[in-house]
């Protein structure tokens, strides 16, 4: 009897979940084995043909590389910064409330708005960054137009947006740490750095894991800024995988290839999730 009720309660949510997560994921996989249908030629089975095109597509490799660099650049930085922010805000810092608000504010802004603001920051000569640089005599630089700096610029912007968000989770965790630990450590004359390294950091591991998972997913999901800032340029230097999928699907109308790219993205997300759980699970200290 209870079985039926259980499933009944679950059904509405299940329909939507299956309909918009599980079914599309499966359908994407299947679509990647067919060619795109055009008015002149219906879709036909091509086996691994799309994957072969994928492997031979230099833009795909560029975009994938960018995404990895983007992840590597933003994840550790934002986590480290978030930890530092949380540690500062957790103490009796003067104007603590204001500081905390300052750190968290970027989180409530939509990425599109953030991109609008930072596009201006990065504009050569008349943009704020170059103006500040000019005060120190630095030459103007084409930040978003230089393939060497554009990805880094987007990374800075994303760290700005995300660090405050992660800070909150660290704050919550810090507040659950018993103060006796602090007292015991100071009695024994432990230095702050020692205390942090041996006590605080390991105790924050569960939060770090949570934040890590979140940050990784975000680094593959966050492409809104590209629509406003660079559209992936110059020459795909700032493009990311999800943005490329959007271009292929909605600008080139090549849905089969877009599905193929999506499959790669799904595999990446699944793989990363698995790796993180396996690797970090071992080092997490649960009390």
């Amino acid at each position: 009897m209870k079985h039926v009720y259980g499933w009944l309660l679950l059904t509405p949510a299940a329909i939507l979940l299956v309909g918009f997560t599980h079914y599309p994921a499966a359908a994407t996989l299947i679509d990647s084995f067919f060619s795109t249908a055009t008015a002149v030629r219906p879709s036909r089975f091509v086996g691994f043909g799309n994957y072969a095109s994928l492997a031979a597509d230099p833009v795909f490799w560029k975009v994938l590389g960018n995404n990895f660099r983007f992840a590597l650049g933003t994840i550790p930085t934002s986590i480290a910064l978030a930890m530092v922010m949380a540690l500062w805000v957790n103490r009796r810092l003067p104007a603590r409330g204001l500081v905390r608000m300052a750190y968290f504010t970027p989180t409530v802004l939509p990425m599109i708005a953030v991109a609008n603001l930072w596009l201006y920051f990065y504009t050569p000569q008349i943009g704020l960054l170059d103006k500040i640089g000019a005060l120190f005599g630095a030459p103007s630089h084409n930040w978003l137009g230089d393939p060497d700096t554009v990805l880094a610029c987007t990374m800075v912007m994303v760290v700005w947006k995300e660090a405050g968000f992660f800070m909150i989770f660290y704050l919550a965790a810090l507040q659950t740490l018993p103060p006796e630990l602090q007292e015991a450590a100071s009695i024994e004359g432990a230095s702050r750095w020692y205390f942090f390294r041996r006590v605080t950091f390991p105790l924050l591991m569960p939060t770090t894991l949570f934040v890590l998972v979140n940050a990784t997913i975000n680094s593959f999901k966050l492409v809104d800024h590209l629509f406003i800032m660079t559209k992936g340029g110059p020459d795909n230097a700032s493009s990311l995988l999800l943005y490329y999928i959007y271009q292929v699907a909605f600008s080139f109308f090549d849905t089969a290839y877009a599905s193929t790219l999506t499959v790669v993205l799904l595999l990446l997300l699944a793989g990363l999730a698995l790796a993180q759980f396996l690797l970090i699970e071992r080092r997490v200290h649960y009390r």
Binding site: A39, T123, P124, Q125, G137, N142, D235
Partner: protein, 425 residues
């Protein structure tokens, strides 16, 4: 008895007259390239048309920029939502043909008057809209690239403020004089800037044409990216930044270029004539507008949007669409639209109207784009146009940032383009 009969007769007659004819509805997507207030203009035009033509309802839908408009219109059609006409990129024609969703206007424009109307536009603007002799696109908001120059800056540099450069060499030399540096040697004003984000291929088409060669053929299935003249054109563009140092190296942002010009950070700029009204309203210095300089010849691609008629339309809708588009492109309305936006008047007789004549006298910069039409070429358009254009965008950006040499970048792009276009030959 007679009264009853009379009432009955009236009732029968009234019934025979049929229910009121349902209005024909026209939905159309359009991009606006010059900022929001023009959506009000379009809405106003739609209302005016509805008043003059009861029985046709017009729903304009503002879709963003050209890419957005194409995506939205196609997506709507795919999803089964109605759209009868749209203003889309003139160069989307092959894409639309391949998806088999447009019909030529010749099919609906059957009367002698209609046929005359089809011939009333500038030939250069019709180039992108004609395929195998049939007219698919009616010019509406069209532009060419023009050279804007800051007269005060020219004066300051010792140049004649009323004489813009007419050739590449002149442009290079003048730009070198116009570059201004501060005490520590940093550039505070560049000589000339050509945007390379957004529509890099469009700007590059101008260089290529000026150096003597077009970038694609008329059938939309072959590109000429690796032609020596074309490679030389890209080399010149790169040299402006890397060798002559009159332009910043790397890519120049389309969106912020206009503001950089009006703030005096660059003395000259290549940009769409669609920016004219905006520059006029925000520049605090006298400025000129000129045709682009020549290398072997003058040249500029045309740009902008045409009206397309979709296939999934009933005969009644097609007639209504024709009426609407003809109404939108009368000489007077074309003149008004050109004045409000800075776009080229799409037909010669628009320039004969009193309104535009008067405007041109007070603001001669407005007719430069029209004068350039005789040197104009069709905008880059082929089958698989999105991908083929992106290949060129990427190649141009790669060359300008120094990642590849112009020859290497263009050859690689040509190879890819050949692969994509071979099935269409």
């Amino acid at each position: 008895m007679k009264a009853l009969l009379a009432v009955l007769m009236t009732a029968v007659l009234a019934a025979a007259a049929g229910p009121a004819r349902a209005d024909t509805e026209l939905t159309f997507y359009y991009p606006i390239a010059v900022g929001g207030p023009l959506t009000k203009v379009i809405d106003g035009l739609a209302r005016d048309f509805e008043q003059e033509h009861p029985g046709i309802k017009v729903h304009p839908i503002y879709a963003g920029n050209y890419d957005d408009a194409r995506i939205k219109a196609l997506a709507a059609l795919k999803a089964g939502q109605p759209a009868q006409i749209s203003v889309l990129y003139s160069i989307d024609i092959y894409e639309l043909l391949e998806q088999d969703i447009i019909v030529p206007w010749d099919a609906v424009a059957t009367t002698a008057d209609d046929k005359a109307w089809l011939k009333a536009f500038y030939p250069a603007l019709m180039l992108n809209g004609i395929y195998k002799g049939k007219v698919y696109g009616i010019p509406f908001q069209r532009s060419t690239i023009v050279l804007y120059w800051n007269k005060d800056a020219f004066r300051e540099a010792g140049l004649d403020p009323d004489r813009p450069p007419a050739t590449w060499n002149e442009m290079t030399q003048m730009a070198e004089k116009l570059v201004k540096k501060d005490a520590s040697g940093n550039v505070v004003r560049w000589g000339v800037e050509v945007p390379s984000t957004g529509y890099a291929y469009w700007m590059f088409q101008a260089f290529a044409r000026q150096n003597g060669h077009d970038l694609m053929n008329r059938d939309g299935n072959r590109t000429y990216y690796d032609n020596p003249d074309v490679i030389a054109a890209l080399q010149y563009w790169r040299d402006l930044g890397a060798k002559y140092k009159v332009m910043p190296e790397g890519t120049v942002e389309w969106g912020t270029l206009r503001q950089e010009f009006t703030e005096g950070k660059t003395a000259m700029m290549w940009h769409t004539t669609g920016n004219l009204t905006a520059v006029k309203n925000s520049a605090k210095f006298p400025f000129g507008v000129a045709m682009l300089p020549a290398s072997k010849q003058r040249g500029s691609p045309t740009g902008g949007g045409n009206f397309y008629l979709f296939k999934k339309t009933t005969p009644a809708e097609r007639k209504a669409a024709l009426t609407f588009v003809k109404w939108m492109t009368t000489p007077e309305r074309t003149a008004e639209w050109s004045i409000a936006t800075g776009y080229v008047g799409t037909r010669p007789d628009a320039y004969e109207t009193a309104k535009l004549k008067e405007y041109a006298e007070g603001f001669p910069q407005a007719v430069v784009a029209r004068d350039q039409l005789k040197y104009a070429t069709a905008e880059l358009s082929t089958f698989q146009t999105g991908r083929v254009r992106k290949l060129l965008d990427d190649a141009v950006q790669a060359a300008l940032t120094g990642a590849k040499t112009p020859a290497a970048a263009l050859k690689a792009a040509q190879q890819e383009a050949d692969r994509l276009l071979r099935p269409y030959r």
